[in-house]
Symmetry: C2
Subunit: 317 residues, 2 copies
C-alpha cells in the first residue's frame, strides 16, 4: 500500500480505475432548501452510489490496487457497515474472499448487504480496540490483506473521486464543499480533490456533537477521542486516522458540529422535499449548512450526501 499523500495524478488514476464499477451519481438541487439556507446548494447524491454510500469508491480503489499475490488470501476490514459493504462488493468484483469484522450493534440493513456479497462476517464489541484485535486475528489466521476503512491512502484517493465529480459536474465554480467527518476518509479525500481540481474552493466538515473527536484533533493536531460517543449518525463514530488528520489539518477550513435534533430535522427535510433516502450521517452536512447560515450566505456550496443505508423500520420520525 502507498505510503505518501495522494497527489493529483493518484486521484485521477483512482477515478479511472474505479469508474467501470461505480455510478457517476447525480447532483440534485432544491429551490426550497436554497431559500431556507440562503445559499445555492449542489447535493452530490452518494446515497445513489453502489452499496448505497460513497465508500464503494475507496473500497474499490484499495482492492483494485492490490496485486493478485496480495489478493490470493482474501481481504479483511472492520467497519460499522458501509465500508464493510464496500470491501465485500469490491472483493466480489475481483473474485477474492472477504472477511468482515462488524460491531455487534450494526444496522441490520448493512449486515444484510455484506451477507449478500458473500462475505464472511465476524461480530465484535463496538470499540476501536476490539475491532482491530479481531481483524489482527483474522490476518494472522488467513493471511488476508487488511484494508483500513479510512487510514489508508488508496481509500482516501478513492473517496476523493466523489468531490472530483462534484467539481466537474456542478456547472459552476463552487465557493465551498462540505463533507461529513467520521474517520476522515471522505473528508481528507474531498479536501485533496478541492485543492487539486478547484483551488480556492474551501472545504468544511459536518460532525455530530455526539462524536466530536475531529474538531478536537483538528485544533490540537493529534488524534483525540470524543468526550462522549452518542449520536444517531452511526457512520461517524470513530476517531480520525493519523493519515486523515494530517491532510485535514492542511486542507480543511473548519469543522462544524451539529446536534442529533438538527441532524434528524435535516434528514427529514431531505426526505420530504428532495424525495431522497439519506442516512443520518449523510444529513449531518445539511444540518451544518442550515446551522451556519451566515457562513454560507449567498455562496455556491457542494454538499456531499454520503449515504442512504438506513433501517426503514427504525426511523427517527
Amino acid at each position: 500500500m502507498s505510503e505518501s499523500i495522494p497527489d493529483k495524478e493518484v486521484i485521477e488514476k483512482a477515478h479511472i480505475l474505479i469508474t467501470p464499477y461505480i455510478h457517476r451519481t447525480p447532483i440534485l438541487t432544491s429551490q426550497f432548501i436554497n431559500e431556507l439556507s440562503g445559499a445555492e446548494l449542489f447535493f452530490k447524491c452518494e446515497n445513489f452510489q453502489k452499496i448505497g454510500a460513497f465508500k464503494a469508491r475507496g473500497g474499490l480503489n484499495a482492492v483494485l490496487s492490490l496485486s493478485k499475490e496480495q489478493l490470493k488470501n482474501g481481504v479483511t476490514t472492520h467497519s460499522s457497515g458501509n465500508h464493510a459493504q464496500a470491501i465485500s462488493f469490491a472483493a466480489a468484483k475481483v473474485g477474492a474472499k472477504a472477511y468482515i469484522v462488524m460491531p455487534d450493534n450494526s444496522a441490520s440493513v448493512k449486515v444484510k448487504g455484506v451477507e449478500n456479497y458473500g462475505a464472511e462476517i465476524t461480530f465484535c464489541p463496538n470499540t476501536p480496540e476490539d475491532r482491530q484485535n479481531t481483524v489482527d486475528a483474522i490476518v494472522k489466521k488467513t493471511g488476508a490483506a487488511f484494508v483500513h476503512p479510512f487510514n489508508n491512502y488508496e481509500v482516501i484517493a478513492g473517496q476523493g473521486t466523489a468531490a472530483k465529480e462534484l467539481i466537474e459536474d456542478a456547472g459552476v465554480k463552487l465557493d465551498a464543499i462540505i463533507a461529513p467527518v467520521g474517520g476522515g476518509g471522505l473528508l481528507s479525500g474531498t479536501s485533496l480533490s478541492a485543492h487539486y481540481f478547484s483551488p480556492g474552493t474551501e472545504v468544511f466538515a459536518g460532525e455530530p456533537e455526539g462524536a466530536a473527536d475531529a474538531i478536537l484533533s483538528f485544533k490540537s493536531g493529534k488524534v483525540e477521542k470524543a468526550p462522549f460517543v452518542k449520536t444517531i449518525a452511526d457512520g461517524l463514530l470513530t476517531p480520525l486516522g493519523p493519515k486523515n488528520l494530517e491532510i485535514i489539518r492542511k486542507h480543511v477550513k473548519d469543522i462544524l458540529t451539529v446536534s442529533d435534533e438538527e441532524i434528524i430535522a435535516a434528514m427529514r427535510l431531505l426526505w420530504e422535499r428532495m424525495k431522497i433516502v439519506v442516512e443520518p450521517s449523510g444529513a449531518v452536512v445539511l444540518a451544518a449548512v442550515l446551522k451556519n447560515r451566515e457562513l454560507f450566505q449567498g455562496k455556491k456550496v457542494g454538499v456531499i450526501i454520503s449515504g442512504g443505508n438506513v433501517d426503514l423500520g427504525k426511523l427517527p420520525f
Copy 2:
C-alpha cells in the same frame, strides 16, 4: 378548453409551454431490481418533479393554456392532493387565485403543500359527488375557471410529457411503458405519447385491487365504479373520466391489478434499494411488473414513478 383528443403537435406544444417551470426528471436504474424482475427497467422519477409528482405537468399546461380573461377570477379544482398542489403551484406562477377543494382525509403533507402556494382550501367529504358539488358552488360564487384533475385534454396533454421525456431520454427503444391509473390522466397522456413518439411501445397500467374501477371500465367500455374502495394508494381512488377512458381503450394494452401488500413491498424495495422516496400510488407500477414477471421478461420497460408525497409519520413499514 380543448374538445378533441390531443394530437402529436398538441403534446409537443404542451411540453414547450411547461418546460420553463418543470424539472426534466432523471431516469434511474437498479441492477438489483432488474435481476429481481427479469426485465430491464427505466424508472422515470416524477417523485422528483415540482410539487413532488407528475401532476405539475398537467396542472401547468391547463393553467398556462387559459387566457388572461379566463384567469381573472382565479382557478379551482378538486383533488386528493397532488393535483391540488399542481393547480396551486401553476396559479401562483401566473399570479392567479386558486380555490382548492380537498377531501377531509387528505394527507397532511399534501394539505401543507397547497397552503404553501397560497391557495384557499375548502374541505369536503371524500366522494366524487361531494367534490364536484363543492367545486360547482365555488365556480358559481367566484367565477373561477374549473380545471378537472384528469377529464380534461390540456391536463392529459401535460401528463403525456412525462412519457415523452422518458422515450427521449431512455437511450433505448422501450418495449413497454407502465403507468399507474386512478382517474386516468397520466395513463391516457402516456398512451398518447407512446403512440405518437414511440410507435410499437406497448402501454400497461398498474391499478390497486382496492380501487379496481379502471380494469372494469377498460373491459366494458363505459365508466364503472370500483366494487370497493380501500387501498393505501390514495392517489388512485377515483374512477376514470370519460375522456381518459376513450383514449385508454384505444391505446393501452392491459391493466394489471395489485394488492396493498404488493404495493407496500414494491414501495419498500424502491426506498431501500434505490434510495428514493415514493408514495404508494407510485409504487403500484413496480408491484405490477414484479407480479407479472412472464409478461415483461427480457423486455425494456419504462416505469413511471408518479410521485413521492408521503406522510413520513405514517409509513406502512
